[in-house]
Structures are given as C-alpha cells and as structure tokens.
C-alpha cells in the first residue's frame, strides 16, 4: 500500500526526458502555462495602444522574468535592429552627436536593479474595488536588473557647458516608435541615477521593453522610461508633450490637476493569498507574502493586518530594502481557518507610511486615475478563496 507515485515506477523515472537541444532558448514547463501576462480587454480600444499585467500573484522573489513583465505600448512593440539603431543628442549641448548601438557598448557600464511601475497601476480601483486579482490591481509593475550606460556619461560626452546653469535645464527624451512617446525630465534627475539600458536580467531587452535601448528612470513613473530611445534634447523648458499634459496628470476633486507627479510613492500588496492565488491546503501553516516598493528610496518595514486594519504585525523582509527596487516580505502564520481581511502597509526610509484609500480620496477625490498607492484589502474566506474588497 502507498502512494502510486512512489510505489509504481513512473514514466519519467523510467524513460527519457528531452535532449539538450529540445529548446535552445528555454520556455516555462507546460504546467506553468497560467503564469502569463494578461490583458483587460475593456480597458482600451485596441491592443496596439494598450497595457497588460504581470502575474505577480504567481511569482516569488523580487526579479521579474522579462517574459512575463507587463507591456505598455502606444503604437505597438516595434522591431528595431541594433544595426539600425541611432541615438541623437541635440539642443543645448557643446556637441550634437549621433551614437550607434556599438558606440554605447564602449562607454563604462553600470548595473542596477529598479522597479518600473506604471502611474496608472491600481488606477481602476479609485472609484471602488473592481478587478479581482493582484495581477489586475497591481500588475503594472516589474523589477529587473539593468545593465547599460549612465545617462550622465552620455550627457557629458555631448558636453553641458553650453547649457550654462543646469538647475533650470531639462532633457526631452523620445522613442523611435510611431507613437514618438516623449517626456521632459529635469536635468537634476537626468544627471542623478538614470541609465540607458540595453540588458535586463542579464540578457538583451525584449522587443516589448524597448530593444535595443531603453531609458531607466529609477522610482519615477513608467511612462518616462522611454523605450527604443532615439533622441535626447537638452532644453531650457519642458516640452509639455501629450504624455505630460493630457495624460499622466492627476485631476483633483475641484477640477484642477497636478502635473509633474513623477515619483511613485511607497506602496505594497499581498500577492498570495489573493483572488488568483487562493489557499488550497486548509488550516495550519500558511505563508502570506507580497511586494513593497518606494520611488523615494528603500523600503524599511512592511506591516500585515489580518483583520482589515484593526491590528498589525511586522512582516519579515526577505532582504533589506534597496533603493527604488522591489522588496519581498513574508508573514508566516498558523491559519486557524477563519476568514481574514488581509492588508499590507509599506514604510520607506523617508518615514512615509502607505495610506489607506480613504486617506487618499480625502486629498485627491476619485478622478485622479494615476498614483493610487492605497492599502489593498483581500477578503480571504473560510474556503481559502479570496476577493478584492474595500473596508470601512
């Protein structure tokens, strides 16, 4: 008697598996076929200018594999070969220059891990709980290790003497795709920690993330991380392009709108258990886990509540928080099988504490679309299933 998986010889223990050349570039095993990016069709008119969501409910650790890191394009993911790639620097520089891809690889290189969060992440939840899954409420985020050249290095290669006082100067960065997506970035940030990245998690960027070169703007909204970057213009004023006036501005209750809301404030979410990742094992040991991040620096602490915010317990950080990068947290509990209202609350090194939805709405109203970093609630039922809810 016993488990036939043990007492009987299984096919995989007897015959062959795949040879080494079966999949020259590996894919996830078929059993993981549900761990994929997903689109919410009703959000946009067409997939060409749209967004999908990272399956954060099914991942662990902090690094997002490129193949399931969310995509957002304004005119589709283009195929731009390295040989056809050109980067122009123009405007208030000493030398207006053109770089090839090969040129970029000859500059001193840097590595850094950063999260990219779309400013609209959790944006559908302003008016109330509506999407049932961490992937959909919080999946416009990914976190990768980038290799590339510091933007400062490139700007200094073009020379900033002509720009004079750099305090009131800007750069305008623009992509090579048909959307010509462009954003203005203050020079202070451009010279601080931005990089022109050509590798992510060790390998070339994927087409959907801007191959062969994208901009990395740590801690700032994803729309500024220009993909297929082809031009950097040094200017004495922001361009006020479509993506920084009609979009990515946050309308308050009185009808005025905030602009230049670049930083992504501290935020966290429980990724499991969650609606797409229910508890299936009944009561007993349970791993509660999630992600936390801040565009203002490193995560210092994450608290977890199981009763909708009445009482909180400090979670365990898998590793000390790193600046502008995802932090993994765990709370290991002995679940008694009763229902929970699960929440997480992040704190960063500036002392900022992730606010509740009520707190945010009191300041911003319901129409801001962007920058919703509220505390999320999952109602975990006795069955182990979970639902996205709001609580008093």
């Amino acid at each position: 008697a016993g488990d036939p998986l043990i007492t009987e010889v299984q096919p995989w223990a007897s015959g062959f598996g795949d040879g080494v050349d079966e999949t020259p570039y590996g894919l996830p095993i078929k059993f993981e076929s549900d761990v994929v990016r997903r689109n919410v069709e009703w959000l946009t008119a067409d997939t060409i200018s749209s967004i999908n969501f990272t399956p954060i409910h099914a991942l662990d650790g902090t690094i997002t594999p490129q193949g399931c890191a969310f995509e957002r394009h304004h005119s589709g993911a283009i195929e731009l070969a390295k040989e056809d790639y050109r980067l122009m620097i123009n405007g208030l520089v000493d030398r207006e220059l053109i770089f090839t891809y090969a040129d970029l690889e000859r500059f001193p290189r840097v590595n850094q891990v950063n999260f990219l969060e779309c400013a609209a992440n959790t944006g559908m939840e302003w008016a109330g709980a509506q999407l049932n899954g961490a992937q959909f409420t919080h999946g416009m985020i990914h976190n990768m290790e980038y290799s590339g050249v510091s933007l400062r290095t490139i700007l200094e290669e073009a020379g900033l003497t002509k720009a004079g006082d750099l305090k009131d100067k800007w750069i305008y960065v623009e992509g090579a795709d048909a959307s010509s997506n462009g954003r203005s970035i203050p020079m202070e940030k451009a010279l601080d920690d931005c990089i022109l990245a050509f590798k992510a998690n060790g390998e070339a960027l994927r087409k959907e993330h801007g191959y062969p070169v994208r901009l990395v703007v740590p801690g700032w909204e994803g729309n500024m991380w220009i993909k297929w970057i082809r031009r950097i213009e040094v200017t004495d004023a922001p361009v006020e392009s479509r993506e920084e006036t009609s979009k990515y501005t946050d309308t308050l209750a009185d009808g005025t709108s905030r602009k230049w809301t670049w930083v992504m404030d501290a935020k966290s979410v429980v990724t499991s258990p969650s609606p797409q990742s229910p508890i299936t094992h009944g009561k007993g040991p349970l791993v509660i886990t999630g992600l936390a991040w801040s565009g203002n620096g490193a995560i210092k602490r994450v608290d977890v509540s199981r009763d909708g915010g009445k009482t909180w317990a400090e979670a365990r950080l898998a590793a000390p928080g790193q600046k502008m990068a995802l932090t993994r947290f765990y709370l290991d509990i002995d679940w008694d099988g009763s229902e929970m209202l699960l929440q997480s609350r992040a704190m960063d090194e500036t002392g900022y504490v992730q606010p509740t939805k009520t707190q945010l709405r009191a300041v911003r109203g319901l129409n801001s679309i962007y920058h919703n970093n509220c505390i999320q609630t999952w109602w975990v039922k006795e069955s182990g299933e979970a639902e996205n809810v709001e609580v008093s």
Partner: protein
C-alpha cells in the same frame, strides 16, 4: 567643438537634427511655417482620423474623444478633451504631427496638420468655421484649461499626514466590507489557468504516452498570380488607412474590425469570433459573397452597402484606390 571625454559618436548633421527635432513648445517654438483652414481640416479629419475619433471628434467606442467635456473636470468621470483639458495648443499640433494618424504616423504635411488642428478646435467651439490656423495665428488661440494645472504638491499636502507613526493595535473599532469586486465582476476569465489545473490533476498513468502522430505537412498551393504588382503596392499604401482597425496576412487577428485574410470570394460576415453589425448578419443570412463588385461597393460607401455597419470609415473616394485595395487584399491572402 572638441571631442567628449571618450571621443565616441560622431557629429550630427543639421539635416539629421532637423529630421528628428520636431517637438513644438507652448510658445510655438519648433512650429514650421504653414497654414490650414477648418474646411480642409474637416475633409482631412474624415479621411484620416474619424474612423477612431468620430466625424465630429466625439470619439468612437473606446477611442479617445477629442471634443466636448467642457465644465466636467470637477465631476465624476470628467471628459478630458482638447477643448476641456489640454492646456497648450502646441501639444495638439505636436502630437498630430509626430504621432498621428494612428498606424500611419508622420504622413501629414505641415499644412495638413494645421488644418486638422484647426478642425479639432472648431469641433470644440473654440474657433469659427472660417478660421485659419498658421504659425502666425497659433498663439491667438486660447485654451480653456490653460490655468488648470498645479505642479506636484504631494510633499506639502500629503507627506506630513502620511508619515505619522503607524498604529499597531486597536486601530479601529469596527471593520465592515463596504464594496466587493464581485459586484462589478469585470475581471477577465482565466481559461488558461483552468486548462493548466486540469492538466496537472490528470491521473498519472503507467502507460507511456504515445508519440503524437507526426503532423502532415501542410501544402500551400501556389496560386498563379495575375495581380499587377504596381497596383498591389499602391493598395498597400492605401491600406494604411485601414490598419488601425483591420489586420491581414500571416498571424492576422480580429481587432476593432475583422481580420481580412481570404476576404476576396469569402461569404460575407463569416469570420469566427467577430461580432458583426445587424447589417452584416443580414447580408450573411442572405448568402452575400465578397466578390469584386461587393468589395468595390462597400469600399466606396460603406454605409450605403451596409447601413448599420460599425465601420466608421467614410469610404475611398477614388476608383483607382478601390481597385488597388482589392488587388492588395488578394495579394496578401490569396
């Protein structure tokens, strides 16, 4: 000037900078010399923009509305359009010039961009129908929401109140669920997840799985093409007008409009998974076929051929364009 610290890259030529340095600023710097009027803009808009943005810039389906929404910014779900929200006219001109029409960006001349922008302003009741927008009249246009923006003030208005020492015990007396996602239930279904779960829970059999029968090679018959390559190339250009909504060729899928593979000779309204308008459902029931005459009629005046069609495209005006389009559709999916 001297080389930079690493001496990498080369000097950009003035032609290169001119080709890419197209952005236009709020003060109008960067605008090329040119002009366009509302009337011309109306025609250009119908041909290039209306299939997504509607004949009067009112927007179709989920595509952006460019007109209307005045005085809605402090309401629930404000309607943000060029007229109600955009603070600078330069943004509209720059965006139309560099990023539109969708799927055929940078195809309009400077004068045409002036005309299209003039029409968008007219649709928003911001100019009269005899208005001419030019690099000289550009700054005369007043944008309604020019003063509607403040610079990010979170550091002053939020950070202090969101930095209080966090409560750990007895933080509130009662907790009640006030809203549930299942009430709205707009979450996409996870079919893949169910399939994977089934695969995983399938009983483990001792029998080794049989190798699947080798798939028979698919023989694609090579058709003798009588199509004029010049006409096909012409049609490919015309098809750019359709690309925002229709796909054709390998891997084509249904988008806003159905995929067009094998359209020539196919029964009308028979692409699986596409929700056709009532007109097309009726034509399909009648057994209509997309022969050359039907294609030509529909392409010339879609709403005359199928009155309730969801396709907002006004139609191709030139017979030569219609012939080219039909040749192109036949060439890419015989």
């Amino acid at each position: 000037a001297d080389a930079g610290p690493f001496g990498l890259g080369r000097a950009a030529t003035s032609d290169e900078v001119a080709a890419w340095n197209l952005d236009v600023r709020p003060d109008g710097s960067g605008l090329p010399v040119g002009a366009g009027n509302v009337e011309d803009g109306d025609v250009l808009f119908a041909d290039n923009c209306a299939s997504c943005h509607g004949d009067f810039a009112e927007g179709r389906g989920n595509w952006p509305k460019l007109a209307g929404g005045v005085d809605t910014l402090d309401h629930d779900d404000p309607l943000k359009t060029v007229g109600s929200y955009w603070p600078y006219l330069s943004t509209t001109w720059d965006y139309v010039n560099r990023s539109m029409p969708f799927g055929n960006a940078q195809s309009l001349s400077a004068d045409e961009v002036y005309a299209v922008v003039a029409y968008i302003l007219y649709s928003n009741d911001m100019v009269e129908d005899d208005f001419i927008l030019s690099n000289e009249t550009f700054l005369d246009v007043e944008m309604r929401n020019a003063d509607g923006f403040i610079i990010d003030d979170r550091a002053e208005t939020e950070y202090a109140q969101f930095s209080a020492a966090p409560c750990m015990e007895n933080c509130k007396a009662e907790v009640e669920i006030t809203m549930r996602a299942l009430v709205l239930d707009v979450t996409p279904e996870e079919e893949d997840a169910e399939a994977a779960a089934q695969e995983q829970s399938a009983p483990v059999s001792k029998t080794k799985a049989e190798a699947p029968a080798a798939a028979a090679p698919v023989v694609v018959p090579v058709q003798e093409s009588a199509l004029d390559p010049g006409l096909v190339a012409e049609g490919a250009k015309v098809f750019k007008k359709c690309k925002a909504c229709h796909q054709v060729g390998e891997g084509a899928k249904n988008k806003t409009g159905p995929l067009l593979n094998g359209i020539a000779g196919r029964a009308v309204g028979t692409i699986e998974g596409f929700r056709y308008s009532k007109s097309f459902q009726e034509l399909s029931a009648e057994g209509a076929v997309w022969d050359d005459a039907a294609l030509a009629a529909f392409l010339a005046k879609p709403k005359a051929y199928a009155p309730k069609t969801k396709m907002s495209f006004a139609g191709l005006k030139k017979d030569s364009d219609i012939a080219a389009m039909i040749a192109y559709l036949k060439s890419v999916s015989p």
